[in-house]
Symmetry: C3
Subunit: 445 residues, 3 copies
């Protein structure tokens, strides 16, 4: 085996293992979201987060990958269905784009690149799940997820990563929209799709009192929520460093470190702000602060150093606490804080490329962020946001008038587990609760 | 370091990391099985699934590996005890078989290959655990697990993977029994050992009513069960792609993708069938459908494409739902669905090599499945099944008449956690339950 | 890309992936510790174990790494703050120490090595968390953790791994203190810091009765504790094999196997001893026995074979059971058994280098353990222990007289979750408990 083939082997191992880590984030979202919701809806949330990756797998294989990375125009890819061999996905390393000759690949195999892109697409869909939890119909979520991964995500993704109009520099310029691992492409797309759903669904019954004040609805298991966040932190070591798509020595080490420092800083600043504002260090804020730092570093992680990463994380942690309070104030009911984590910090992270970038990219070209780049980042974030929000809203509305989008008030009160799935997550607890009531109906908080 | 040594390094890193992922499946089985059983037996199931890998580690090191991969005859290996240097394990890559010279290995070190094979052997034993749960004695399970990993699994494994009679082509033929990552070797062996145990143990008290109808006994935590299944899905990215035993670029990317597509398809078809047949999308069926797809793709994963993988997964997901209903109808009480997942789909996956294989193997030899291959697969599945079932049944019977196999009816009612381990998994819940009863005994569902 | 660059790529991939696995141990400690404590303190323990890695990340980046691996004297490193390029960390492979030239590294990048060392430093801090659980103030734990990772751990670590006086052979000798992956550096440092805290904090109220007998306080979720231990076992495959800091083929395979065999043996011997001594196979002893085996093999794992590893594990498993009973007898209240696992077995494992080492190290130098080496190991363990215990005790005392170290008796009774964080881990359970009491206050075990 020659050195070129060994390079391909190392790159492929790296791409696959980091993809496995990103796949693992599905478990993280499932636990975080179910932990932060009520036990009567736990089966439903777990089922949604589990099945959504299965749906994503088929949707992205049939059409999504082709629309995102196929040959086409500035707005959409138009071939490559069923993984038919077309591939315009971004090459972070020069020899990334593979061709199969006899028994060997001259670059990372298409199957590996597809799988890596698939786990990213799946992540965007799981982000929606949390924000619409505890009142959405199971079938309606499934249908929306399919459309998101098959059509909406790939089109916007094509713009940024598939050779579309945002990925192309204006003539005579080296500057184009940059989003290394997806603050915009994954997180803000998920966030825009989610906010459209939250607006059309409306809040959970009882969340906002008649006087407009907020009735907190605590989650049922902080152990699940914490474990979920640990899983996400771990998974991000696949998400960001894997986006090099190659065992690019300088890149992967630096990106891994930056990712960690932003997460740590986000954790600490959110803790401090929550302690100050809410009076005590609320664990859900500690967790969401970490995720905020991770989302924010995702776009700029390749082009900054650990010092900048810490600053980005600190700002993200502050942003998420005030974000959670803000969305509650405007009565957008997001049970898990997904809008603050993924939408706000997805946008913020995208802008950080302009604000903080200071390192050359992998090709050695000077790349220093700056005002021009910041403007490009703002335009890109707005373009993606406008498109995803509009199409998602249309899609949610269509679902609303056809399938129906929301469970009945009775089912919402009793819990979606019984209504949608005919089962309970923790039968012991329900049984014991039933013993405490003379009518035998049980009390469920 | 020259290219040959670098190749060995890449292969060894790949084998070890995928082995770690397969080790992680122990946690998946522990959570899936305990989640699908009652809380009064959770400590017992967790303890069984934890200790079984420790037992496997010693059993396989002392004798198992030698019987499986030692030099011997067509039926059993007869040397290589205590990892003494003998190794006839399958080389999926030409340079797989290593020799230690001075400070370097010319191939993947024996320790790495042993460790990889060990985590597979451990998986077979954990499969048994779920099927016999909630009524087996702790010590009896330990003894059976030791025999399974020390003797039964290695002998049948020798036939398929260690140079035994199933692994050898008839003269003038290239066709022999093929099981890439163990639909037969790991999953159906586990399944056959389990069904023998289930038959000899009998069902849990109260599972089948006097009129023959089924009394459902719901599991105590769908959160644990779902997390367990996520872990297993992740672990399978070690199980199947790691079975290349080399950083074989084309192989590992293709196998990883096929594994995922079959899992996704199994998830969706089981969901659809359960929705239709049971009226609602039952989460335990969603989970078991995914596992069914994973088990079924395990044998053919190297020789099919993603399209075939989807079809295999779809069929597996259908099979598992009807399998669960079927085993209940014939009163084989399997609390977690292990027989439907591992036995039925282990056999089905083995046959899929004949039905769907269409890609050359790593040596570039044409390999197209077909009727001849299908016949070989059927014969192999039957031979392994007959042997494992007969010897396992004899072993279970011997345990029954010596140690005793089943806890007392009183202990079964109270829960094995108190009886076998003198402790409880969730003391809070028991305590609260006790408060709801005037007699202070507590009520446990 | 030439062979040298490929070697660096393979090494860097290995270092990063194993570092990710060690990072994952944070989740393991969080679940193990919260599972073995009461539900009313679960949020607090989860929060401590989550935030401690964030604190460690900043502390080790600002000053810790410099004090540990900077240029300095025999006692402490004195430069390299903010990862400024200095690096005297141990090179297990000759080409480990990297220099950045143009776009490439000639060895593993400093960022990767820093990240690997950071996750180790974080582990030391999480060990403390369990021992002081259920009565320490949140802020006080945070402050101590910062000091531990910023100052105490790096200084003692400098002695052993950073070129300090323990890492240097006497003139004319090849013998120096050896601790491959940190039985002393990570586990006993964590253990010594913990025992100082336990002594100064005092036991939980109600743990020891007036007659001196022990009132057991069972943990609230054996499912969390078991999952946590599985995570730790998995993480150790990063901890020990990753400490080669290179894709050193013979080393990583051997170390991975040894690590597993010691864990398995520790699991089985602790089970057997607990069964004999306590009457039943207690699951918490099964788990702690496994961890004991893992801690004990950590120092000698590179220089022994699997047979010795089994013996080391067997002894460690015995040691941990009697250790738990011993610490309870002398009224050092350690809710999770951290002192027995990390302190006792950290010391024991360190001595095992002298007792069992029989293999050459990576440079091919003969290294056979023996009496001289054993003496060196004893001296090193004592030196580190005396320093860490003394400085930790001083630090805990300083915290006690300034911030206060312990929550109020009322808060301890009600649980730290409400007192420190204003929330509960499982609101359902509290709510149901409240229904069983006429006064509406709820009963919490």
């Amino acid at each position: 085996m020659d050195a070129a083939a060994l390079k391909v082997a190392a790159d492929t191992v790296w791409v696959l293992i980091t993809a496995f880590l990103v796949f693992w984030m599905n478990a993280g979202f499932a636990l975080l979201e179910s932990g932060l919701c009520q036990s009567k809806n736990a089966v439903n949330i777990l089922a949604k987060n589990f099945i959504v990756f299965a749906i994503s797998s088929l949707a992205f294989w049939f059409v999504g990958f082709g629309m995102m990375f196929g040959d086409g125009n500035a707005f959409v890819g138009l071939n490559g269905w069923l993984l038919a061999g077309v591939d315009n996905s971004p090459a972070m390393a020069a020899d990334y784009k593979g061709v199969f000759t006899s028994l060997n690949w001259t670059g990372v195999p298409l199957e590996a690149k597809f799988f890596f892109q698939l786990v990213f697409a799946g992540t965007a869909a799981t982000i929606v799940s949390g924000a619409v939890a505890e009142r959405i119909r199971f079938i309606s979520f499934i249908v929306f997820s399919f459309v998101l991964v098959a059509v909406i995500y790939p089109i916007a993704g094509h713009w940024c990563w598939g050779g579309g109009f945002l990925a192309t520099a204006a003539q005579g310029s080296k500057a184009f929209f940059r989003d290394f691992a997806g603050s915009t492409v994954v997180h803000s797309i998920g966030g825009w799709a989610a906010i459209a759903g939250v607006m059309i669904l409306g809040p959970r019954n009882g969340k906002y009192r008649k006087d407009g004040s907020v009735q907190p609805i605590p989650g049922h298991s902080m152990a699940l929520a914490t474990l979920g966040t640990f899983i996400l932190w771990l998974g991000w070591f696949g998400f960001n460093p894997g986006s090099t798509m190659a065992a690019d020595v300088a890149g992967i080490a630096s990106v891994a470190l930056n990712t960690n420092m932003a997460a740590a800083a986000g954790c600490l600043s959110a803790t401090a702000v929550a302690w100050k504002v809410l009076g005590k260090p609320d664990l859900s804020m500690i967790l969401n602060g970490t995720l905020a730092g991770l989302v924010a570093i995702t776009a700029p992680c390749y082009w900054v150093g650990p010092g900048s990463s810490i600053i980005i994380g600190l700002l993200a942690g502050v942003l998420v606490v005030f974000g959670v309070l803000f969305f509650d104030r405007i009565h957008l009911d997001d049970p898990v804080g997904a809008l603050s984590v993924h939408l706000l910090n997805g946008i913020f992270g995208t802008l950080c490329v302009g604000l903080f970038a200071s390192r050359n990219d992998v090709a050695g070209l000077f790349f220093g962020g700056g005002a021009t780049q910041l403007l490009i980042q703002i335009k890109g974030a707005l373009a993606v946001g406008a498109f995803v929000f509009a199409v998602s809203a249309a899609c949610w509305l269509l679902i609303k008038v056809t399938l129906g989008i929301r469970v009945s008030p009775e089912e919402e009160l009793e819990g979606l587990d019984k209504g949608e799935h005919g089962m309970e997550a923790y039968p012991d607890i329900s049984f014991i609760a039933s013993l405490t009531r003379s009518d035998g109906q049980g009390a469920r908080p």
